[in-house]
Amino acid sequence: MAAVVLHSAENVLFALDTPAAVPVTPAEAYVKGWFVWQNAPEFELRLALDGTEVCAFTGLARPDVARHHQNNPAFKYSGFVARFSRPAIPSAAKLFVRTPEKEILLAEQIQVPVLEPSVSRPLPLPGGPLVSVVLSIPQGAHPYLVMRAIESLRRQTYARSEICLIGHRPAFLEDLDHIALHESAAQARGEFVLFLDYRDELAPTALEELAARLADDVDLVYADEQEIDFYGHPAGRFTKPAFDPEAFLSWNYVGKGAAIRRNLLGGAEGDSWAVLRDVVRSAGPARVRHLPNALYYSRKGDELVAPLARETPSSPPFTEPGVTVESGLFPGSFRLRRAVPAGIRIGVVLRPEDGAFQRAALAPLIDARQVTVYDATPAGVTEDVYIFINRPLDTVNHFFLDELAAQALREECGIVTGISLDRKGRILHSGLRRDTTGRLTDSFTGLSFRAADLPNELNVVRSVDAISDEFFAVRRGISPQLARTGDRSVLVTPYAVATFDIMSEESMSEEPPEEQSALDAASRLRQIASERNYLKRELASARETLAKLEASRCQDLKTRIRELEATLETERQIGRDLQNSASWKLTAPLRACLRLVRGK
């Protein structure tokens, strides 16, 4: 506990956690602490700075203080915070309690950081759609949070907006006349609606930047989220992917702060996953845009001050026969598990040049009643799904074949791949997306698949613009080259992972492990020599294989020529036999007559 100021005569206990004010934005700062006045009369905790006063928000949870005082409940909600504008010149603030009868000074000479110069911005152009920001305030919402949300709306650089409160207006909002009070979001007048959680804030330029994207051909725009702590300091950032309807089935990455065309909301009172699903279904994926700027400030809970527990969905709002829903690979995501129907035949096509052990690598997964392995593209199409593997396999995950086949069998799937790794676990390929310049890129190539902070996007089934040929699956009747025609998608599933026995550039340029660098030069030389010998042997083996391959191909050609020659000779013999036959000789006059008739 920080030093406690005791006003024994008044039975006041108080401590300031921040002896100097803490800057939170270039224009604002705050002080915080805790304050208990048992049997207190009506009072206000206020902060005075340069002749102006602000009221502090009290009643914040301080379980740490309560614990320090033997779990005394009087201390449980003793926290306060006063947030205020920073002065232009160095100043000091004072904190005091005011009752109808008197004032008690708690602290003075609190140093406050001065206002930081802000970057001048051009005034936004007039016009643009009207945006309604709908703020739903539940009973018991803490005034600090609500006021922070409203303050963030008041600081918006976009003028054509309205704030709509759903439900009741708390007493502390009585003075704010410009806020419309509605009973439902449907009463909002804006062309677009944005739902702001009372615990969150918007970046000052949020509405302006969103409005700039709201055009006739757009029905929903969502931006990245900036996580902030209870007091408003930036924490992590949630960078969202571009809109992908496939990934949206198992992960609600659109999340908070989407501007949604009002007439698509159908009276919805929030932007839950189910609501967003309905909007996207009505609008179509092409009318959804992602704005890669962090415009929505999502307030993170603070275990001490306010946990701010948010509900996480227990299942996605999508159901489909034959699909079971399981927990996904990260919190908030789901796996929609699809089974391969009984009787489905799977063909796995390998390349002979990938080495002798391709079949061996897959052998534990192969059920001969269902799966046939080919060493080259089969002449006829007899299987329901074909899985092509075009690199030397090291390992695959246990569900590799099942997952690829199950995804390929989906009506909406044109072609599907998974995640390809190199020997060191670096990502070789995970699907290609077209960037703003139209170039196809895989932004995850080179990342370590073993890293704990792998982007969430990689851990859900998603659609991409194209894939490379490491491995993929298609169902019968779809040509891999034409897989993306019509409504069919190119999918990438994280539940099919192939590790190839090759090294990516990233792995080769990796720093050697510490142990290895500690080896002396002689050891390294020995290792290099050893590797060289091995490579020589590998090279010799490869040459031998190549020679055998060439030899077998030459042999094949010679055999074919012999077969053709034999066939030709047979045909000739038939001709000769015919000309020597009695019937041919007997019909010679008839043929002569025919020639005369034809004029020859």
């Binding site: 309560a66 052990f357 569900f399 698949f449 590790t499």
Partner: protein, 537 residues
Amino acid sequence: MNDQPLPAVTTVRVAPSDITASNLACQSAWKPGHDLLLLDPDAEISQDFLAEMQAVLHLHERHAAVSPLAVRETGIFERISPLLPRYSRAPAALPACVLIKAEIIERLGFFDEIFHSFHAALDDFVCRINRRGYSSVTANRTYALFDRQNDPSEPDRDLLLYRYPEYEHKFAFYDNFERDPVEQFAILSAPHRPRILYDLFHLTPSHSGTSDFGLNLLRELWKQADGEFELFVGTHLAERFFMHELAGYRIYDDAARADEMFDLAFKPSQPLSWTELRRLDRLAPRVSFTLLDLIGVRCDYLNSPARQFVLQRAAKLSDYVFALSAFAASDFNAFFAESVPFHTIHLGTNYGRTPDELLPGEHVLVVGNNFAHKGVTEALAYLGTQPDIVVLGGKPEPAASHVRWLASGDVSRQHMRDLFSRARVVVYPSYYEGFGLPVIDALALGKPVIVLDSAVNRELDASFANRNLHRIATLSALPGVLDQLLRTEPTPAPEMRRWPDVAAEYLNAFRMLFRRDWDVGKMRERRAFLRALAASD
């Protein structure tokens, strides 16, 4: 128990959300000398509950309040009640139905109306009587169908915690250690598809025999048990070293889902810490694991008192313990002077399943890491300057500059397969193994394998009856045997034991375990043991 007639009972219907009304009802209805029965009007109680509850209440002077067993359905009660003692001590009474002894009311009064709910006031009452040396108990031969877990509101909880700092701790300790495991896992007694936790929390980020065993067995178990069991893999989602093979399994991460329950917690390795044993015990009424080997406790430089003790107790306290070999089992029992009934299931191999793998030999492959018991350094010393030696495992040693030495952790699976396929002879000079996966891998490829003449290798020899397995008495015999083998053709590879065979045996054991009733004595013994450890911590 005295022979006095039991007192009369005053019954009061409580209003769960209105403590003032409930208190008023109690005060007006209760007569001195009567036990007080409080009932939630919505609760469904078993017939003849009152006689049994009152009997339990008056079994001992210090029993102050008694509640029936809370269950979700009568079937569960019928299954678990016979397994429970007549009564158990409980940190709280059940708001749905509680019988309070007359003298307690006379001495300590009714409920404190400062609370907002009857539930909180009852918790306060139980804490109050407990501070005066009385207990609340559960009568396990009666039940109340009660599925509501209305915890006290936050202000009520704060006040309880202020008055009784032990309030939260006693519930946590009860849930973790005091509660009868039969009651904890009661829900699992209802008919359902058995759920198995396949515990891989022990895997470290490197390939090893332990990880090979764990992953190969898992794959085959899934293939054979899909539909029959629900299989979950226990691992930390953040530790992704093996995720390239595990992708697609249902993952149980105890950091995220602490309240899961399984019918069986199985670990394809031996528990080496209390945390691991505690996890198995906490998650399932049946605990099983596979004993790999005892090298970590036999060698003093690897051993620690905790590790040795954990291993010994885990084997005794588990429902079913597998061993990789009869040797590993006998080694355990000899070392600890125990007679744990291990069930030996040998390992299998993925090698040699395709003709492409059967390649002519080129080099001599020596397998083993730098641990002294692996015998690699000594084997290399005996092999001298023998050409074309490849060592797989551990780190290169300066004295072995003439050999190609590959650390197994850096070698890809295919490279390893290649090394075995192109081996002329495989030397596995280990002094101690629980099984020795490289032996069966090499034999599956038709490679001659030289091993020391040890109990485990004699066991494998007898089991595989493979003429390519050559046992030598000492490593000094290695050059001679190797020389002879290099000059003779190896025997063609016979069909070897495969992982599906191994999984089938494990599955049969699991099925047998599920047919058996819970071993309640073992469950309680395990819990009591872990409680003693927690208490002494």
